[in-house]
């Protein structure tokens, strides 16, 4: 890595980008060496994606310069960036689902003959790229994207960028949607690409991934560069401190109360997904009074369907759901709300709040049949207003104005409002699905503390998250979900990240052992918490 010989593939100097009053990037310097992987590490909202969007021509920077291959460049659009050999793989894939892989790869750059798309030429070119890097995309060329796994879709995206002549690839949180195996596969692909002289920017907030896959790591915090270090010379603990500006406490606090009687019982639950495929395949679970049952797992292993079946948003194909012993399997969503199942939904923007309503009207959401807000079908708006005010005050919702439109609040404040409203139902069970996703750190801690306090007051909580650290911090027991089943339920106090990771990949530590034996072992574990 000798910077004096060849110019870096990309050099950003003094990049500043503001959105209104918010400074998303403040004088950021960044250099990507040729043929290397450079991780851009930071919390959500630290400015990683903004920085790369400036590079990719999606935003105009307010100050600073971009050099590609030593040449100063200005990009007005992604097309300009692409022409200069910079490609970006977004978190949300830029693929057209009903079109084939081949059509997607060549979209916008179709070779033509006599006015028609020259499929034969396109096919050869794309197959050549795929086989050169061993991407395993070549045999899917005629498959429609919607029928492919996310891992393959991602490789299609990469092939697309390469087909367009990308020398520099920006991967925006590429591991978020992948299974552990697919993550390994992705890292292999990244190694192939750098070996062939391509340069990669790897955006992530996962410390271990940055250390595994990158040569160098730049840490961003609040839009500024904290430091750039070689991956070989640093540790996860050091990176974590740089990311959040202080030691991160993933430590559990000892609990003082003991769980009580079972409140929520699911038995042999089977649930179909949107496309009719069985996504939950025989789940048994029990949540007791004063207990948090964490459900861990890579996104898309049936957690969403499980939660929706329990909360009454999705019909159950087989099995039963009981609340305090009473069968609610066939009960409507509304009855389940009335019976005391509160739900903090995964997608608060689409489900938990009506974006166009103010907070007063949102305070009524889910309370339509609950006194004192509604009496004999008549809404008492004064009561709803008081309710909204209470939530805003108690949960420190900013701005503290119950007349604010829900859509104008930040993610963290929206979520605090939803959590506050759901708790106010005085439920028997709370189902919280990814309650801290996309939420700022302060709100995360606030929500965590609330959930723990509620647990101590005796609430039964089913807590779904794909973030291991918060699963370990909050849960009493952790159920690991993989391909629609609970592969194991372990004691959160004792289990290690490594063990959880293996379970999330669908493997007990030694293969096909009986589950309870694994659990036993898990509880015997050293308890060594890796940072």
């Amino acid at each position: 890595m000798d910077a004096s010989d060849a110019p870096p593939a990309v050099r950003l100097e003094g990049i500043t980008k503001r959105f209104g009053d918010v400074v998303a990037n403040d004088g950021v310097d960044f250099a990507l060496e040729k043929g290397s992987v450079h991780a851009l590490l930071g919390e959500n909202g630290s400015g990683k994606t903004t920085l790369m969007s400036v590079l990719y021509g999606l935003y105009d920077q307010d100050a600073g310069t971009i050099c590609v291959d030593g040449e100063p460049r200005t990009f007005d659009s992604p097309r300009d960036a692409m022409d200069a050999g910079v490609g970006m793989i977004h978190q949300h894939f830029q693929l057209v689902d009903p079109m084939t892989v081949l059509q997607n790869v060549i979209l916008g750059h179709e070779p033509t003959e006599n006015g028609l798309v020259d499929e034969a030429t396109a096919r050869e070119d794309v197959a050549a790229i795929s086989s050169r890097y061993d991407f395993d995309v070549g045999r899917h060329l005629d498959a429609r994207v919607r029928d492919l796994d996310l891992g393959i879709r991602q490789r299609v995206e990469i092939v697309k960028s390469l087909y367009r002549g990308a020398e520099v690839l920006v991967l925006d949180e590429p591991t978020a949607v992948l299974t552990p195996q697919e993550v390994e596969r992705l890292f292999d692909v990244m190694a192939e690409l750098t070996a062939a002289g391509r340069s990669l920017v790897f955006i992530t907030h996962k410390l271990d991934e940055a250390l595994t896959a990158a040569d160098r790591v730049t840490v961003l915090r609040d839009g500024e560069v904290v430091d750039t270090v070689a991956a070989a010379d640093t540790t996860e603990r050091e990176l974590a401190r740089m990311m959040v500006g202080r030691e991160v406490l993933f430590d559990r606090e000892p609990r003082e109360t003991a769980p009580g009687d079972p409140v929520l019982d699911a038995e042999g639950l089977r649930v179909r997904g949107d496309r009719g495929v069985e996504r939950v395949r025989g789940v048994d679970c029990t949540v007791r009074e004063g207990e948090i049952l964490g459900v861990a797992g890579v996104q898309g292993n049936g957690q969403t369907e499980l939660v929706e079946a329990i909360t009454g948003l999705r019909p159950v194909a087989a099995g039963t759901v009981r609340l305090r012993g009473g069968d609610v399997t066939g009960a409507s969503r509304r009855r389940r709300i009335e019976e005391g199942i509160a739900y903090v939904p995964e997608d608060r923007q689409a489900e938990g709040l009506v974006q166009d309503y103010d907070l007063v009207r949102n305070a009524l959401l889910g309370n339509q049949t609950v006194e004192p807000y509604v009496n004999r079908h008549v809404v008492d708006w004064a009561a709803a207003r008081d309710h909204a005010e209470d939530i805003v005050r108690e949960y420190d919702v900013q701005p503290p104005n119950p007349r604010a439109r829900a859509g104008s609040l930040s993610g963290g404040n929206q979520q605090k409002f939803v959590v506050g409203r759901e708790i106010a139902h005085d439920p028997d069970v709370m189902v919280a699905s990814h309650p801290t996703r996309g939420v700022d750190i302060g709100s995360i801690e606030f929500i965590h503390d609330r959930l723990l306090a509620l647990r101590d007051e005796g609430l039964a909580i089913l807590f779904v998250s794909s973030k291991l650290e918060e699963i370990r911090k909050l849960s009493d027991r952790v159920a690991v979900m993989y391909e629609g089943e609970f592969v194991d339920t372990v004691d959160a106090e004792r289990v290690t990240d490594e063990e959880l990771g293996l379970l999330m990949a669908g493997r007990g530590r030694d293969g096909d052992e009986p589950a309870d034996e694994v659990a036993e072992r898990a509880t015997d574990g050293s308890g060594g918490v890796s940072p």
């Binding site: 659009s77 992604p78 977004h90 057209v96 689902d97 079109m99 979209l107 916008g108 033509t112 028609l116």
Partner: protein, 349 residues
């Protein structure tokens, strides 16, 4: 998508359409109806003629929707097409226009529709108008200004008899029984429609523009990041849809020979049926044309019933296409729409 692909993907749809035909045939035999008296060469000819305007509007509409804009104003564009074609024919040739006048008028009607479609496209693409409301508005405007034109020109909502298009008769070939009369002694507008349907299919599935249209309606961001201007693609598709619906209206007039502006005008729901035709045809131009033929056939049953001596009140027989539409939507209504239909797209630049 090849025809076999289409058939495979829509096995249920194609199968049930076939089953429907068999069922109707069986019912006819069982009820001792005079099938020969109903399904005649003349009936096929009339059905094709009746299907033409619907098919044209349907093909236009599916292009717009594929690109992400639901052009619910097809009916209105058809009203304009018919009224303008009648007006221009009248202005060119008065009471006894020539075939050339008529053809020129059809062209003019299409061009005027293009102008209106540009306005509609600007409102929906640039000004992000609510597509459903704006489309309804086009219908209302058509229902108002179409007959308005007629009253200004003829002092009545209906025009006098103007001119209808002559059949194109290919010597020799037209003498072939059945096929000859249907294909080689037919309205040139029917043949034109067939050609346009095939061309629309080729463009949609075999050219880059077709790829872009599909991408614009499914994932505009993907198209944008591929360096193609989404707005431009949508403009093109919406303007094309207006032109095709306008052509459909003009063709309707050219077959009928005079403009009718009373009630819902001579278009009388054909634009709406066009929308159902492309939904039924799974957004495939050939499928849409086939569905249009089904509706055209239903539309023409009334004459067949009369000649076959079946005594059903006209007003009820006239309702067959509308009933068929409701039935079609009930059983095949949940067609998957392009993902980004109705959503304005703003490039991030």
């Amino acid at each position: 998508m090849s025809v076999t692909d289409y058939a495979a993907e829509n096995r249920v749809r194609v199968g049930s359409a076939a089953a429907l035909v068999v069922l109707v045939a069986a019912a006819a035999v069982a009820l001792d109806l005079l099938v020969e008296a109903i399904v005649t060469v003349g009936f096929v000819e009339r059905a094709l003629q009746a299907a033409t305007p619907i098919a044209l509007a349907a093909i236009g509409g599916l292009y717009a929707e594929k690109s992400g804009v639901f052009n619910i104003g097809l009916e209105g564009f058809m009203v304009f097409g018919a009224a303008n074609a009648a007006a221009v024919t009248w202005l060119l040739g008065g009471g006894s226009p020539s075939q050339a006048d008529l053809w020129l008028a059809i062209l003019a009607a299409v061009l005027i529709s293009v102008a209106y479609a540009v306005v509609f496209a600007v409102l929906t693409v640039r000004y992000e108008a609510d597509q459903i409301v704006a489309g309804l508005a086009v219908w209302f405007v058509g229902l108002g200004f179409g007959p308005f034109t007629a009253v200004v020109l003829w002092g009545s909502r209906n025009s006098p008899s103007i001119a209808s298009v002559n059949d194109l008769t290919v010597p020799v070939l037209s003498a072939v029984p059945v096929v000859g009369r249907i294909l080689f002694d037919a309205s040139p507008l029917v043949l034109l429609t067939a050609v346009l349907a095939v061309a629309a299919w080729v463009v949609l599935y075999r050219t880059r523009y077709g790829y872009w249209i599909q991408a614009a309606g499914e994932n505009p961001e993907a198209l944008d990041t591929a360096g193609v201007n989404v707005a431009r693609v949508r403009y093109a598709a919406v303007i094309f849809s207006g032109a095709m619906a306008g052509l459909g209206g003009a063709v309707l007039l050219a077959h009928a020979g005079s403009f009718i502006g009373t009630g819902d005008t001579m278009v009388n729901g054909r634009g709406w049926i066009g929308i159902v035709a492309y939904l039924f045809g799974s957004y495939n131009p050939l499928g849409a044309a086939a569905a249009a033929l089904l509706f055209g056939g239903l539309d023409m049953l009334q004459i067949q019933f009369q000649t076959a001596g079946i005594d059903l009140p006209n007003r009820l027989v006239n309702l067959f296409p509308y009933v068929a539409v409701v039935v079609v939507l009930t059983f095949w209504g949940s067609t998957r729409m392009p993902a980004a239909v109705g959503e304005p797209y703003e490039s991030e630049e």
